[in-house]
Symmetry: C2
Subunit: 235 residues, 2 copies
């Protein structure tokens, strides 16, 4: 079903062909994970939810694959925490940005940035570094599902907290991010929404103290060990 | 580079969008393998080369991804062992079959079957089961890189020897095939060509006696253990 959504996304001019290949890489890891949320991923998701609600200026980044696979969930989360969405795609064309923005708005988004970027991430090639000044550029917390490693690194270098959702625990994005959720994008977003709705995390908490007791490397190692164990058991 | 070849393959009407996703799954495994030929894969490749040269009626199956990634190698092997190529694609359209045939012919292929299939694999949905009677249908050995699991199973059920090339050691194709080469399609084909040219395997050998000392499950387990070990070391 995810595959059909992405192929439909290509036909609608939302997903890129490189996005299909990237999705295939994720599929291989999801197969190894067993297509469910690992305990380690759920721990990361709880921390991500707490940081998102307590952030001063959170922004939710949306690329072509995220739009095709989980636009409804991104919009729901955006409204739940009153954070803007920002269209932020790797193979940028203005037409594709516009179509993703329209898709998000049709799904109920109130504020979608990214159509007229007026700032740049340092050290990132021009088209790929374009962002909105009032969005990702000045955000304190960025939720960046299926993000590219270079951009994740640039955001971290700017002092931001980055929450990644990436099925590959070895990817550069997973390694650089502040909180790496090794899970399918739709499952992870639904978990974040459920946690925020059900547990009502403290909006006045300090993100740094939430992170003081969190070890992202430990979470990634747990994911890697679980995948390796399943691989041997499946064989 | 492989990615660019596939995207060009889509633009040339040779690769399917589902083929891009399938390639991405392979990429994830190739990353875990370290993008090189494992010892276990080389053992399977030696056996595959020996069976191919001693086969009575070998046929080399070509789908969209194989055409985009390794048409030159498939044509070279076809000429080296004097075996026909057969275009055999999962999402069959006559236009795509024709384009793949033309690509193979431009690369020097002498005999390309598959444009006018006149037989069917039992238990496979109509369009996906179409094959050439004088090709795959009556072959004793089929080299089927990047093959679908159902078709691999159907070929085995017909009593054929199937040589698979598949980066996923857990795939149904890898599990069903007679000899499963867990390697990149281009690397594996180049290895087969080098072995045939360099070692000049016995053309009068009996494929069954070659296989008598070969344990495909052991090869797959070795691949799985090597991938799991690398995963933990990379983490």
């Amino acid at each position: 079903m995810r595959r059909e959504k992405l192929v439909a996304g290509i036909e609608a001019g939302i997903t890129s062909m490189h996005g299909l290949i990237a999705h295939g890489r994720g599929e291989a890891f999801d197969y190894l994970i067993g297509e469910r949320t690992m305990d380690s991923a759920l721990q990361a998701t709880e921390v991500a939810a707490a940081i998102l609600v307590s952030a001063k200026k959170p922004v939710l980044s949306v690329n072509g694959n995220v739009a095709a696979l989980a636009s409804a969930e991104m919009v729901t989360l955006s409204r739940l925490i009153d954070a803007p969405l920002e269209v932020n795609i790797f193979y940028r064309t203005e037409a594709r940005v516009k179509r993703i923005k329209e898709l998000l708005e049709r799904s109920g988004a109130k504020r979608v940035l990214g159509e007229m970027p007026d700032a740049r991430l340092a050290s990132i090639e021009h088209a790929r570094g374009l962002v909105a000044r009032d969005g990702i550029y000045t955000a304190d917390v960025v939720l960046a599902p299926l993000e590219d490693g270079d951009r994740c690194e640039a955001l971290i270098a700017m002092g931001k907290k980055v929450i990644a959702i990436d099925l590959n625990p070895l990817s550069r994005t997973s390694r650089y991010a502040t909180v790496s959720i090794v899970d399918d994008v739709q499952r992870a977003l639904r978990n974040i929404i459920t946690i925020i709705r059900g547990k009502n995390p403290d909006r006045n908490a300090d993100p740094d103290s939430i992170l003081a007791n969190y070890d992202n490397n430990r979470i990634l190692r747990a994911a890697i060990n679980e995948i390796a164990g399943r691989l041997v058991n499946l064989g």
